[in-house]
C-alpha cells in the first residue's frame, strides 16, 4: 500500500516537473518563434490588432530587402573581427593578470586587485563617454580598433582566471621553477595550458557579450560600413515607423552565425556557465 502511494506521488511530481519545464521552454522560445513568423508577414499584418499567429501569406522577400538595406557582409566581417580581437585580448591579458594576482607576490597587489573588483561592480555605461573621448582624440573612431577598445582588458576575465589559477596547486609552478623554467615559461608552458576550460568559458562569454554589445559600436562607429551587426540592425528602426518584418528578417540573418557557433560549441558553452555559476 505504502509503495503504491509512493509511486503515485512520484509520478505526480514528474508530471508537474515536466509541465513546469515545458511551460518555461515555451515562454523562452516564444520571442524567437514570433520573430521568425513576423519576418514572413507583411507590414500591415505584423502590426495588426488582434495579432495573427501564422502569416496569411509567406513574404520571403523581407530577407532580400533586409540584405539590400544593410551591407551584411561588411557587418559580419566587422562583428567577426571585433569578436576575434576582443577574445584574443581578453584571454591574453586576463590570463597574464590573473596569473600575476594568483601566483606572484608584489607590492600593491591587494590594492590593484581591489581596483579590478571595483571596476567589475560599476556599470559599463559610465565608461562610455571617457572611452569615446580617448578613441576620438586618438583619431581612431570608425575603425575596428575603436570597436575592440573597451574589450582590450576584461575585469571579469581577470577575476575569473585569477580564481582558476588559485585553484591550481602551487607546487606545480614550483616544480616548473625547479625544473628550469623562468617566470614566463612557468606561465605559458605549464600554468596556462591547465586553464583550458576556463579560457574556453571566457572566450564564449567575451564573444557573446561582444556580439550583443549595441551601445558602444553605435556610439563609436557612425559609418554604416564600420558598424557591427547589432548597431547596423538598430539603423533599421525609423524615428516614426519601423518595418518590423524587415527588421526581424535582418535580426534572423544576424543571429545565424551565433546559432551555428552555439550548435558547434554547445558542450563548452554549458560547461562554461556551470564553471562560473553564472546564469
Amino acid at each position: 500500500m505504502k509503495n503504491r502511494s509512493l509511486e503515485a506521488s512520484q509520478k505526480r511530481m514528474t508530471v508537474i516537473t515536466y509541465a513546469a519545464l515545458i511551460i518555461g521552454a515555451l515562454i523562452m522560445v516564444f520571442p524567437f518563434v514570433w520573430m521568425i513568423l513576423t519576418s514572413l508577414k507583411t507590414v500591415p499584418e505584423s502590426m495588426q490588432v488582434p495579432p495573427t499567429i501564422l502569416p496569411k501569406e509567406l513574404i520571403v522577400s523581407n530577407f532580400g530587402e533586409a540584405m539590400k538595406s544593410l551591407p551584411f557582409l561588411k557587418l559580419y566581417l566587422n562583428t567577426g573581427l571585433m569578436i576575434f580581437f576582443r577574445v584574443i585580448c581578453a584571454v591574453a591579458f586576463s590570463s597574464m593578470a590573473g596569473y600575476a594576482f594568483a601566483m606572484l607576490e608584489f607590492r600593491g597587489k591587494k590594492l590593484l586587485f581591489g581596483i579590478v573588483l571595483v571596476q567589475m561592480s560599476l556599470p559599463s555605461q559610465i565608461f562610455i563617454i571617457p572611452q569615446y573621448q580617448m578613441v576620438a582624440k586618438m583619431g581612431l573612431a570608425n575603425t575596428i580598433f575603436a570597436l575592440v577598445f573597451p574589450g582590450i582588458v576584461s575585469a571579469f576575465g581577470v577575476f575569473f582566471l585569477r580564481q582558476t589559477y588559485m585553484g591550481i596547486p602551487k607546487e606545480i609552478g614550483e616544480a616548473a621553477y625547479l625544473d628550469g623554467c623562468n617566470q614566463w615559461q612557468t606561465f605559458y608552458k605549464v600554468m596556462f595550458p591547465l586553464t583550458g576550460t576556463s579560457v574556453a568559458a571566457l572566450t564564449i562569454f567575451t564573444a557573446v557579450f561582444a556580439y550583443s554589445d549595441l551601445m558602444w559600436p553605435l556610439v563609436v562607429n557612425s559609418d554604416l560600413n564600420m558598424m557591427t551587426l547589432s548597431s547596423g540592425l538598430a539603423t533599421l528602426r525609423g524615428q516614426f515607423t519601423t518595418n518590423f518584418p524587415v527588421l526581424m528578417a535582418g535580426s534572423l540573418l544576424a543571429m545565424l552565425p551565433m546559432v551555428i557557433l552555439y550548435l558547434i560549441f554547445q558542450k563548452q558553452f554549458i560547461e562554461g556557465i556551470a564553471s562560473t555559476g553564472g546564469k
Binding site: 614550483e174 625547479l178 628550469g180 591547465l194
Partner: protein, 396 residues
C-alpha cells in the same frame, strides 16, 4: 653528488600588516605552534647548522610546523634564506636561482604537469636545458626502467595510481642527474601498504643513483629506515643529529626520546643517586645501578645526585618473576600481537607500555595475563635514560 653545508640557516616570516596592527593575534599564533615570535616576525627555522657529506642520505624529521619543510625549501631556493649561509659543493647558494642550483625536488602532491604525458613530464626539465633529443630519449627511458614505469610513458598522470604518479615524480627528478635530490614527504599521500613498498623502492633507488638525498618526513619509520643520519627538529630548532641507532639509543632530550621509537618511551619520576662514585636510579622500590658507559658519561659532566625523569623504552622493560627490586604495575589493557604482547599498565599513577615476547627463554608462554593482573617490572642499567629538569639527557 655534492656536499652541502648549512651554516646558521634561519627563516623569519615577517608579520603581515594585520598582525602588526594586532599584537594579540601574533601572540595567539605563537601559542599554536610554539614558534618564537620577535618584532621581525615568526621564526620558523633558527640557527640550522648541518654538514651533509657527498652521497649522504639525510632525513629531516619532526612534527608538523617544526620547520623541516621550510629548511628543505630554503635549500631548493623556493624560500628566501633570512639568515645564515648555504653552500653546495663549497659555493655560496643563498642568492642563486633554484634552476642554477642543480637540485631536483619531489613533492608530496607529486606536482606532475597534468597536460603532459609521463614521457613529456620526465623530458620537460631536459628540454628546458636544451639537451639533445636522443640524449633525452635515452635518459627518460633509463629512468623509466629503473622505476618500472616504461609501460606508462604514453599515459597522462590522471590515468595513473598514486604510487605510479610518485614514481613519475621521482623519475622527473632523477632524469636530470641532479647534485642533490630533495624529497618533501613523498610517501605521505600513499596508503600504508604502498608506502611500505615505495620506501623499499627508495632504498633500492638510492643504491642505483649516486646523489645526495635530503628527505623530509614526519614518519619516524621512514626516518629510521632510510636515513644515514637523521635530523630531528622541533619548533624551528635542531634537537639532535645522528644515525638512526644513535638517536634511538642515546636521545639527546625528552622530545627526541618520545618522538623516536614506537610505542613511545615510558617515563618515571626518579632519583639519581651517587653512592661511592657509582650512579644509580631509584624509582619506588626499584634501584638500578647504571651501566659503565653511562657512569662514565655522567661522571664526565660532573652530574650531581638529583630528581630526574627516567626513560625506559617499552621493549626494554622486563617482567620479573618475583616482586623485590621491581616496579609494580597493574594491567589496564593487554594486546596480543602474535610474537609479542603489549601491556598497557598503570605504575603508581603513570601509564606505561611494556612489550614482552609471547614466549620467554624458558619456553613459558606469557600471554595469560589479563586486565587487572599485577606485573613486576624491571630494567637494566644500560637501557634507561636519565633526563634533567630541563629535559636534557644528563649524559650529554
Amino acid at each position: 653528488m655534492a656536499a652541502l653545508n648549512l651554516k646558521g640557516i634561519t627563516k623569519i616570516y615577517p608579520h603581515s600588516g594585520d598582525q602588526k596592527k594586532s599584537k594579540k593575534k601574533a601572540g595567539e599564533s605563537e601559542k599554536k605552534t610554539n614558534l618564537q615570535v620577535t618584532d621581525q616576525g615568526v621564526i620558523a627555522v633558527q640557527s640550522f647548522d648541518l654538514d651533509i657529506k657527498d652521497k649522504e642520505f639525510i632525513v629531516l624529521v619532526g612534527p608538523s610546523g617544526c620547520g623541516k619543510s621550510t629548511t628543505l625549501r630554503m635549500v631548493a631556493g623556493l624560500e628566501e634564506i633570512s639568515g645564515g649561509e648555504l653552500y653546495i659543493d663549497g659555493k655560496l647558494m643563498n642568492d642563486v636561482e633554484p634552476k642554477n642550483r642543480d637540485i631536483a625536488m619531489v613533492f608530496q602532491s607529486y606536482a606532475l604537469y597534468p597536460h603532459m604525458t609521463v614521457y613529456e613530464n620526465m623530458a620537460f626539465p631536459l628540454k628546458l636545458r636544451k639537451v639533445p633529443k636522443d640524449e633525452i630519449d635515452k635518459r627518460v627511458k633509463e629512468a623509466a626502467a629503473i622505476l618500472d614505469i616504461t609501460q606508462y610513458l604514453d599515459r597522462k598522470p590522471k590515468a595513473l595510481s598514486g604510487g605510479q604518479r610518485q614514481r613519475v615524480a621521482i623519475g622527473r627528478a632523477i632524469v636530470r642527474e641532479p647534485k642533490v635530490l630533495l624529497m618533501d614527504e613523498p610517501l605521505s599521500n600513499l596508503d600504508a601498504k604502498l608506502r611500505n613498498q615505495m620506501r623499499a623502492e627508495i632504498i633500492k633507488l638510492r643504491q642505483k643513483i649516486n646523489t645526495t638525498f635530503i628527505y623530509v618526513t614526519h614518519d619516524q619509520t621512514e626516518a629510521m629506515t632510510l636515513g644515514d643520519r637523521i635530523v630531528i627538529m622541533k619548533d624551528g630548532f635542531i634537537q639532535q643529529i645522528g644515525t638512526p641507532q644513535e638517536v634511538f639509543d642515546h636521545p639527546a632530550n625528552l622530545f627526541v626520546s618520545g618522538f623516536i621509537g614506537m610505542p613511545q618511551m615510558n617515563y618515571f619520576n626518579a632519583k639519581l643517586i651517587n653512592e661511592d662514585g657509582k650512579y644509580a636510579v631509584s624509582v619506588e622500590n626499584c634501584k638500578v645501578v647504571l651501566s659503565e658507559e653511562k657512569q662514565k658519561n655522567l661522571a664526565a659532566h660532573n652530574v650531581a645526585a638529583q630528581d630526574v625523569t627516567l626513560g625506559v623504552r617499552p621493549s626494554h622493560m622486563v617482567l620479573a618473576k618475583q616482586p623485590g627490586n621491581t616496579l609494580s604495575a597493574t594491567i589496564d589493557v593487554s594486546e596480543l600481537m602474535g610474537s609479542e604482547v603489549h601491556f598497557h599498565a598503570n605504575a603508581n599513577g603513570k601509564d606505561v607500555v611494556v612489550i614482552v615476547p609471547t614466549m620467554n627463554a624458558d619456553g613459558e608462554r606469557i600471554d595469560s595475563f589479563h586486565a587487572g593482573d599485577q606485573l613486576n617490572l624491571t630494567f637494566s642499567g644500560n637501557v634507561c635514560h636519565v633526563f634533567g629538569k630541563d629535559g636534557k639527557n644528563l649524559e650529554f
